[in-house]
């Protein structure tokens, strides 16, 4: 370091903030410890606002009556299930190509939350389909590709859990995650490419919306709530994985020892 002989030794000794600062598990651990609870609070605030809009402001649907209100959580859950898969595959790829420790940790931390939203998308969709379509389930392209997404998440989690060597598990999981990403556009465009029982997109960029604006706002608020929730819980899980992997490092031991004294 060039700063050794400079008068600003103390300032230079402090780590500078760069793009790679939080690629360090120790720095990420501290940052996520702050950001996690903040995201949780943001999620709760958006959830309250969205539920209020969804149940007390948005009108009754002219065709479907009240049961359409499932849309306010069904669509956010489905979006998050796809977005989180892409995020998981992205970090898996980053880990693969850059050999970055934190990237693999992110990929692993995202998977269970993605699987949760996939289950919720399927479950809320089923509860919506029964009264409106007359069936819990059909093997149409949208539903089937979403079910495959769930299997991809479960497959990824089972694969990384089954391999004892962490680095090999990370790489094997990354390969599965990256290959599986082709399923995401299939889900998204399934209602366009095939004739599905599932309705078309509720929101289309650049087109005039056919939803009442209060319905749209409720759905977007709950989407933001789900996003913030996903960040919060992924941060907690990523911190847990950091400790699991860095348990032999001095910083992790100092941190644990310190908090045990307090």
């Amino acid at each position: 370091m060039h700063a050794v002989n400079s008068p600003a030794v103390t300032a230079a000794a402090r780590p500078r903030l760069t793009w790679f600062t939080f690629a360090s598990p120790a720095n990420f651990y501290r940052l996520a410890g702050v950001l996690g609870p903040v995201c949780g609070l943001v999620a709760a605030a958006f959830a309250v606002a969205g539920l209020w809009m969804g149940f007390f402001v948005a009108p009754t649907d002219a065709v479907q009556g009240e049961v359409y209100r499932i849309i306010f959580i069904h669509v956010p859950a489905a979006w998050l299930s796809m977005v989180l898969y892409v995020a998981m595959a992205f970090w898996a790829a980053m880990g693969w190509f850059l050999n970055a420790r934190m990237a693999f940790i992110f990929a692993r931390a995202i998977a269970p939350t993605g699987a949760l939203f996939t289950v919720l998308a399927l479950w809320t969709g089923s509860l919506w389909g029964r009264p409106t379509w007359g069936t819990w389930w059909v093997w149409d392209a949208r539903l089937t590709s979403e079910l495959i997404l769930l299997f991809l998440y479960l497959g990824y989690m089972a694969l990384v859990a089954a391999i004892d060597d962490t680095r090999r598990a990370d790489k094997a999981g990354a390969l599965l995650a990256i290959v599986g990403v082709v399923n995401v556009p299939v889900i998204y465009f399934s209602v366009v490419w095939w004739n599905t029982l599932h309705q078309g997109s509720s929101l289309t960029m650049g087109k005039e919306q056919h939803m009442a604006s209060t319905m749209l706002v409720a759905m977007l608020l709950l989407t933001l709530a789900c996003w913030a929730y996903a960040f919060a819980v992924v941060f907690v899980r990523a911190r847990a994985i950091v400790l699991e992997r860095e348990g032999d490092t001095a910083w992790a031991r100092a941190l644990v020892a310190q908090s045990n004294q307090g």
Partner: protein
């Protein structure tokens, strides 16, 4: 607001079971998942503490003079 009573709100136009089944499951799972994640975090901390204690005990045992005849 379109609801005139609590029971009307809960009934959701006769589809209450579907609506609350969806919202209830979502709420339940989104409460349970953070708890599981936090438990995993706590378990990771405890594992480190235990490993440190084990190592300390091993070091202490190694340094002690053996009293066996």
């Amino acid at each position: 607001m379109q609801w005139h009573s609590l029971s009307e709100f809960l009934a959701m136009g006769g589809r209450g079971g579907f609506v609350w089944g969806a919202y209830g499951t979502m709420a339940l799972l989104m409460l349970v998942e953070p708890l599981l994640a936090r438990r995993r975090h706590r378990a990771a901390r405890i594992a480190i503490v235990e490993r440190m204690a084990d190592e300390q005990a091993a070091r202490a045992a190694a340094n002690l003079p053996r009293t066996r005849p």
